[in-house]
């Protein structure tokens, strides 16, 4: 049984309340950690730590908020992990990515519920999230790392910013595509629904499944 359905309004439910809540439970802490993290990344951006309540407060809260992000990312894995496995359709999608970038959407194979790019975003955040957690715990409790295990610190100081930079790259593309580029997508993660035209155009395989499911319920 599909969890999505055709709404009374004639629109299609793309993300349930639970899915939207988990998305924002990950997104808001991530944005906080990214901005305070950028403050510690570059002296040019240190003022960000001041804006978020003071430099010491930013440093104290960053790991705690990071934990919320980790928990939400885990919930997302529980929720979407099985829908994120790569399929033959995804390989076709990657081959057609130049068309997708040029908005030649008629030349792009239609996707299931999540297209290949969304899956890359998901797994990118999932694996970087694990690296950020492991290195973050070491940085959080640096003073507890014994001197003869100091290589753990050296590992953490390079892994934490590297993994964070990868997620920032994914984040920039994700936010651009979800707001400016793909009109109608942002509403799906706010109120949960998309138009039938949108669903048919970008996620036809999923949409057809939803239609069959809705017809079967009659």
């Amino acid at each position: 049984m599909s969890i999505s359905q055709i709404l009374a309004s004639g629109r299609v439910l793309r993300y349930t309340f639970h899915e939207r809540l988990v998305h924002w439970l990950a997104a808001v802490p991530y944005i906080y950690c990214m901005l305070t993290g950028l403050a510690f990344w570059s002296p040019w951006l240190f003022w960000l730590a001041v804006v978020f309540g003071g430099t010491t407060i930013s440093r104290e809260l960053h790991p705690w908020v990071g934990l919320i992000f980790v928990v939400a990312t885990w919930a997302m894995y529980e929720m979407w992990g099985r829908q994120m496995h790569e399929t033959e359709l995804d390989k076709q999608f990657w081959r057609a990515v130049p068309h997708y970038i040029r908005n030649e959407d008629e030349l792009v194979p239609s996707a299931d519920r999540f297209n290949a790019g969304q899956k890359l975003l998901f797994w990118g955040f999932f694996w970087c999230g694990i690296l950020l957690l492991l290195s973050g715990l070491i940085l959080w409790f640096t003073e507890l790392v014994p001197w003869n295990l100091r290589y753990l610190r050296y590992f953490a100081v390079i892994v934490h910013p590297s993994a964070a930079l990868l997620t920032i790259g994914l984040f920039i593309i994700h936010v651009y595509m979800g707001t400016a580029m793909e009109r109608g997508a942002f509403g799906s993660v706010i109120r949960g629904d998309v138009s039938v035209g949108w669903a048919r155009k970008y996620h036809r395989v999923w949409y057809e499944h939803v239609l069959r499911d809705a017809a079967a319920r009659k």
Partner: protein, 310 residues
């Protein structure tokens, strides 16, 4: 220090110029620790606690004379003891006063992200400014000598100041003042280097320590605390003094190539998506496509009639 700010030559987490580069006629100061004449009396440890008004902490007995395993946030000066058996079977009691080395190229300052939490003065002293410290602990990772220590109470990091407050008014550091054997010396770096080399030469030629030498590690640009060792080839014997200390390579990688690569990638990504929007614009579903999709759904019978309950 009336003109203290103009004597600052390096500032942690700082963008832009520094106030004191090339302005002052400051001497580079240096502390010389001659381990060969140290008797392990710990007068320096007590003087450090007294002058700096540090709180007391518990000592640890570990079948040696050593006060505790390593320096603490409120114990900046610690003599490390090592009972060392030489090749010919004689026993040496090696004693080295451990404290901040005041590196010319300080790993703590390089790693620190907080503006002005760590400064380096023209005279070579590396000083923590706890008011600006955010307690992140990156300095702990950046230091090759295991010196900066986090205080769980203050949630800030502390270490030896080389008695910056005393040095700035023409006094020697408290530990130097207290040393009864004269194994501690304080002066300019060139003077102390000459004194140390002279002593090492004496140890080699007169006292029979063929490997005696001076410890002033070039990997961190030299230090403003230098040692005379009986066996300069094995500094690890002296309570784990690193043989060739450097700022950890991952810290250097993070602070230089990764920083430039990351900044380039972030700015490139932002410019990239903006240019993409200018060139290709948004993806939209045209009204006629929307209409045909609605009709198709109606034909399939899966769209509810207007007004129907969900």
């Amino acid at each position: 220090m009336g003109q203290a700010s103009t004597e600052i030559v390096r500032i942690s987490g700082h963008a832009g110029t520094v106030p004191g580069a090339g302005l002052n006629r400051e001497f580079q100061v240096c502390k010389l620790v001659d381990t060969t004449t140290c008797i392990g009396c710990k007068a320096c440890e007590v003087a450090c606690l007294e002058w700096n008004g540090l709180t007391f902490s518990e000592t640890t007995f570990d079948n040696s004379y050593q006060t505790m395993p390593e320096t603490q946030w409120n114990y900046w000066n610690l003599i490390k003891f090592n009972e060392h058996e030489t090749k010919d079977g004689t026993l040496q009691l090696l004693m080295r006063k451990d404290q901040c080395m005041h590196c010319e190229d300080p790993g703590c300052l390089v790693a620190c992200p907080a503006e002005a939490a760590i400064v380096q003065y023209a005279n070579g002293i590396v000083d923590f400014q706890q008011a600006n410290c955010i307690g992140c602990g990156y300095c702990v990772s950046g230091c090759p000598f295991n010196i900066p220590k986090f205080s769980p109470t203050a949630r800030k990091v502390f270490k030896c100041t080389l008695c910056n407050d005393r040095v700035s008014v023409g006094l020697e550091p408290a530990c130097i003042k207290a040393c009864p054997t004269g194994c501690l010396h304080f002066g300019t770096k060139p003077e102390m280097k000459v004194l140390a080399e002279t002593r090492a030469e004496q140890l080699r030629t007169v006292s029979g320590f063929a490997d005696a030498g001076v410890y002033d590690p070039p990997g961190v640009g030299g230090t403003h605390v230098i040692y005379v060792l009986h066996d300069a080839k094995n500094p690890e014997l002296y309570g784990g003094l690193p043989k060739d200390p450097h700022i950890p390579w991952t810290v250097q990688l993070w602070k230089s190539p990764l920083k430039w690569l990351g900044n380039f990638a972030i700015i490139g990504g932002l410019v990239g998506v903006f240019v993409h929007y200018l060139r290709f614009g948004p993806k939209t579903v045209p009204p006629d496509e929307e209409k045909s999709a609605e009709q198709e759904a109606l034909a399939e019978g899966s769209t509810p009639q207007p007004g129907a309950k969900p």
